[in-house]
Amino acid sequence: MTDAAANSPRIDRLRAGLKKRYAREKRFRAYGLLAIAIAVGFLVLLLGRIVEQGHTAFYAHTVTVPVYMDPARIDRGYPQGTNFEQLVAEQQLARMGVQDDAAGTKATAMRGLFSSELKYLAADRVARQPGLIGQTVTIAAPASDDADLFFKGKVSRDTPADQRRLSDQQIQWLDQMKADGHVSAHFNSGLFTRGDSTEPELAGVLGAVIGSALMLLVTALIAIPLGVGAALYLEEFAPKGKLTDLIEVNINNLAAVPSIIYGLLGLALFINWMHLPRASPLVGGLVLALMALPTIIIATRSSLKAVPPSIREAALAMGASKTQTVFQHTLPLAMPGVMTGAIISMAHALGETAPLLLIGMVSFVPGLPHSLVEPTGALPSLVYIWENASERAFHERTAAAILVLLAFMIVMNAAAILLRRRFERRW
């Protein structure tokens, strides 16, 4: 007890500072939590905004219109040549009791409410059933991008008429169609079954998805064997020396080279020098393969490192050659890790955009790609192209394309995680 007494002024002194120290501790801890909250908050904001902007692209509106297949206007031999949009617009005006002027401006305005797809739908019907000519057919006509946005509530009536793309009259017509119960929303399957188009309501991501898939195929076929081979050499065969060190440093640095530099390399090497076709999946895949290579090498090496030396020694002691040991024992054991690393680097390559822009994937490519050597789009470059498009309807489609891109990345990453969980081995 005497000690405690002797120490008490010192303890008092210690205690005196405590309150301040704990306040500082609390503050510091709060900074840490705040930092995490910021990071997580931004992720939520980012994804939330994209879902908010993009979810409307997954459905589209159609207007059910009766169409009198006027025999006077339709060429039986070539129904595709008929201006069905004009036909429908005029009939619609007549039904609504609107008198058009001599220049036909009102019919033009009405036509603007329907997608040009209407023409193909109607022509297709007539071509298949020529007997319909002279009868009245009900067609679910897709709304034009502006009309669709209006039905989705994305066009404000309060905006001055000269600043919106729909006139007061068009809005009134749309309101009337809606009031009559002709307007219905449905799943926008075209988004997933079509290629790119200059008209937003006809634009889909399928072309870009196929383009990306072709590109990833090239990337995987080149980068994975090369990467695994290089890792095997460096980890199992390479003599320790200057050259190996150089290769190692080189690979580490390659992994950190900005992706746009790979784009420049691709442009100079594959397009300008080797004259491979611009904007083709082949060139895109080659560039992405060079980019993915260092990542795959690094991942493969670390999973080869994780295989204990005792396995190699056991095989060697059985009289297996070095090559047999590597290919029959080490590599199979390291395979789950190799595949995980490969899938993750493929997912990364899928989202890479900058090099694609430089090899020409910035221009509009309609339709679906057929080959490795023709210009195509890719999902990330489609996002870039759509984001730059002036039509507002492309905004929601951009966000939708992002959602598709993210979905693919999530699937790939989930596959990698599952693979790791399933085959993970602790030595």
Partner: protein, 288 residues
Amino acid sequence: MKFKLFRAPDGSQGGGSAPEAPVISTPVVTHGAGPVGPTKISARDVSVFYGDKQALYDVSLEIPDKTVTALIGPSGCGKSTFLRTMNRMNDTISHCRVTGRIEMDGEDINAKSVDPVLLRARVGMVFQKPNPFPKTIYENVAYGPRIHGLASSKGELDDIVQISLKRAGLWEEVSDRLHSPGTGLSGGQQQRLVIARAIAVEPEVILMDEPCSALDPIATAKIEELIDELRERYCIVIVTHSMAQAARVSQRTAFFHLGRLVETGPTEEIFTNPRERRTLDYITGRFG
């Protein structure tokens, strides 16, 4: 029961007021030879669990002041675990749970009102491997006084550093290079630096967890000498693997086996005339 490492002081009990704790009369350890002080730390039925695994079973031990108490026993016997309960270092391990009662000067150190930060300022600790911070020698020793606000001026801090280094027997060797990194010293010097760092906050108890196991024999001899000197001012508890070391530096010895305290008493008695068969087996080298 889950411990949080750093509890903010309760609003109710302000900076200066003494924590309420039942004061239990502290029995003076009488048996045995040598200058043995009054009981400084008293442990009753202390058990420690790591998750589901129990590492320590109902240990009760009185540790006298101004004395070196050695905790011996084979590896994994719980001696280090017990040592770490005395300054609540086990709090830093999230799945670790301590039951029983440990009192210092009659005050329960696991009580809610006791702040581990304050407790550790009173109970210093030296680890197996010398762990000087990657700072200068001076900054290493000044670390404790700085964080606890023990020096009000630069001069005072200089004095504390000098006195601590002198007490740790390191002053002669480092006085001319106080501002070179502490990690540049030799192993033995590093360990003495860490001891100087611990005594710079004027603790009442110094816990040493196998302080010489990473050192060569000459450095070990120096540390042992130092421990003997420090005994005059502090209550010292040392965990050691070496029975010879326990015999050389300690006045009292506690023998642990399989998480239980087997026997405790004056060092001489334990080594010459143990009461327990297991102690005899251990000190004669039949196991361990």
